[in-house]
Symmetry: C2
Subunit: 466 residues, 2 copies
């Protein structure tokens, strides 16, 4: 029955109880750490047993490396195989080294194929080979085929377990088949209807199967507006497909259009998180989230980006160096010049971020790019004028020189317009060249606004003050 | 049957065809614009009819405002109600103004309750009242109750349509009920099993219902490890719950613990996108993605942040102003000083971004905060020393003065350590104070690295050079 709240006891949304918190609590972490310190194995086993696999993975992640080893030894074979797929790569690597190829082979064969491939693909080749020798023939093939698909493709993401039924079947035959079958996926939400060549013809949500009568033909109740995914499709495109049409599952097909697997929405939630994190990290100049990375790896990966930044900072300094004589004459310019560069950098970053996100979400395309550029230029002009007046007054009052006020104002307008233009054109151009706009835009942009900011301000000063 | 690829025709992942692109294509947009220009109503109707509601929404978004009006007039009542829920708020507002309260009332009553509430909540109060008078009693109540729940809460997110069945029923009774019921949700993936007081006892995935035999009791096949959501829970916490445990649907309960609605994973995908976008935009100082906002609104919302930035830039300039005498003496300092500030700002932003993301994903908590701070401090020390040597050499060679090289190197080490400390402590402190770390961290951080960068460099120079 469909539940509606009883009329006599209406909900009072104002009397909200404290909102619950899901997942691993700080108390649970502290209890586990306490049990580890005291060597209380029984208590530790009890805590671990009470946790969902995802929460146990979080517990393992939140411990120090030496505590992890103790916990893993305590759990031993009792650890659910799913825990491994919930771990972040850096910690998973540690755990795998600890349990060794034999232990890992047991874990992998207990997982669904997509989860097993996800863990397997990250191993080095030698380790992969040692795992494969431990596995039964059929399972070995699934893993070998899995990693043969392009990285971040639908082929890597899919599970091979899928329910596909012939169009000629009735609902009754379908239900009888499902009751007797032993190799169905753990979770599925749609049945895919296929022709004799295994090409998908349509799908039926399970809720519709349940509500249909046994004699009805599946071809009569199926939705024929089916979206299929080629195994080579990039995972970002797959995420777009699920998001755009609100899908819960979709079939993956081979070159001949035959069903070879299925992608479900829980994999997609993971991809969406990953892609969002990627954009955020790249814009900030972090390779990938390195929360669990070791100090030296983190230093190295962050350092790479800082070297690039040092190059652009030196470039900006060279521009300033061109005006040494002017600066020696009017020290006030040195005091004020970071303002112009900083405002341009910030305004440009605002535009850039909107553009990068819109490109990732397919909201920005050649069709509306021109409108976006014109709008950002206009916003740049408006804000340029507003902040020209503000900074002009500040500079004038501070140093008692109206000429410096006028010059900083003019430089501000120029830099804000350039910021709007660079904030749109840089990501659009990179995207057109098939370069990820998130990764490289930031450097380009701040280099442009720094160089233009210093050059405009000091150049105008050199022209008109001296 | 479970499909495995035929052995004789193995997939060759290397021969990948060009990956497909889903969603609205640029060609479709161009065709629609052409039809609009030529006033070809028939063609326009044909294009619109061929599109999924989500793609039609994208088409409407990608048109210029005046073209939108023509398209809407052409479609008239033929537009699927779902189109409205797919539109971004700014464009939806335009469409609603165009179709008026009466048209909107018709659209809302055709939608599921969660989609209707989502559109309804954004309207101004006067418009809301005019809509409510147009709706039948039952529907009016759903909308009024919906907007009474806190913003961004589970209550707003949920749909009232839910399938809850008594624990005493058999599978057969359940299936018979579902075949005859008329008010079931359009899409559902789990049945929720309730006691006589409507309190949830467990859930059964539909795939399990399908595979069960008619005489089995639902209480025997249900999963009792059910996660329920209070209507007042924040949507970010709900998203965490779905993500952590891979849920496809979950029941929402009132204060007495009775089922009052259901949240499904497609709503959650939307929330995850929204929250990720929020963090990205806030870190860049953009209120919310304003791709479709009008020029004046965008100028205003971006300007607010730029005013804050102007304040912090002036603060940095004041610090520089303290050393005017030093700068007048050695102009090289003015040339080099932005390098120290820029490197600190970038290193700090890296740390900050990792922290903000980890806090949002609940990967960073009091349990591991100390380890994170120590790690970032160490990374800051290492990178500080590396870049101290690099910039020191650059400065020495450039100006032929080893003393300036040493001073810039020392300032670099100080600023990089401060950047690591500020990049961790600022977001952690804001989070502890229940302030969203994404929105305010950036300003604090760059202010700190600018001020410390300029002060350390110029201060050391004033001490040791003059």
């Amino acid at each position: 029955m469909t539940v509606t709240p009883p009329e006599d006891e209406a909900i009072d949304p104002q009397a909200a109880p404290p909102a619950e918190e899901y997942g691993l609590s700080n108390e649970q972490i502290e209890q586990a750490e306490e049990a580890l310190e005291q060597g209380d194995i029984a208590r530790l086993e009890e805590i671990a047993a009470s946790l969902h696999a995802a929460d146990l993975a979080d517990l393992i992640e939140s411990l120090a490396p030496d505590e992890r080893v103790v916990l893993l030894d305590t759990l031993g074979g009792a650890m659910e195989p799913e825990v491994l797929s919930y771990l972040v790569p850096a910690v998973r690597q540690e755990v795998i080294e600890h349990i060794g190829p034999k232990g890992l082979a047991t874990v992998l064969s207990a997982l669904e194929s997509d989860d097993a491939v996800e863990i397997f693909e990250d191993l080095d080749e030698d380790f992969q080979r040692r795992i494969l020798t431990q596995l039964p023939e059929g399972y070995r093939l699934v893993l070998e085929e899995g990693i043969a698909f392009p990285e971040e493709s639908a082929g890597r993401l899919m599970q091979r377990e899928v329910v596909a039924i012939p169009a000629a079947w009735t609902v009754g035959e379908t239900i009888d088949f499902m009751r007797s079958a032993h190799d169905l996926p753990n979770d599925f939400y749609d049945l895919f209807v296929v022709d004799p060549k295994h090409k998908p013809q349509g799908y039926i949500p399970l809720s519709r199967v349940l509500r249909a009568r046994r004699p009805e033909r599946v071809s009569e109740i199926m939705e024929s507006d089916l979206k299929t995914i080629s195994y080579s499709t990039d995972q970002e495109e797959v995420a777009y497909l699920f998001r755009q049409y609100g899908l819960v599952s979709a079939p993956v097909v081979d070159d001949a259009g035959r069903v070879i697997g299925m992608i479900t929405v829980d994999d997609i939630v993971h991809v969406i998180d990953e892609e969002a994190e990627d954009d955020l990290m790249k814009l900030a100049g972090v390779g990938e989230s390195d929360l669990y990375g070791r100090v030296l790896e983190t230093t190295k990966s962050r350092g790479t980006w800082l070297v690039v930044n040092l190059g652009t900072a030196v470039l900006a300094s060279i521009v300033i160096g061109l005006f040494e004589a002017t600066l020696a004459e009017v020290v006030a310019l040195a005091v004020l010049m970071p303002i112009v560069a900083s405002m341009g950098g910030n305004a440009g970053t605002q535009t850039l971020t909107v553009a990068v996100r819109a490109l990732a979400m397919k909201d920005l395309s050649t069709a509306n790019a021109m409108r976006f550029i014109v709008k950002e230029l206009t916003v740049g002009c408006f804000n340029g004028m507003i902040f020209a007046v503000l900074t002009g007054i500040v500079a004038w009052l501070w140093f008692g020189r109206p000429d410096i006020g006028v010059i900083i104002g003019l430089a501000m307008i120029i830099n804000m317009i350039v910021a709007g233009l660079a904030g749109t054109l840089v990501p659009l151009t990179l995207d057109r060249l098939n370069i990820d706009p998130a990764v490289a835009s930031g450097v380009f942009l701040t280099t442009i606004t720094d160089v233009v900011g210093f050059f405009a301000f000091l150049g105008l000063a050199a022209l008109f003050i001296l």
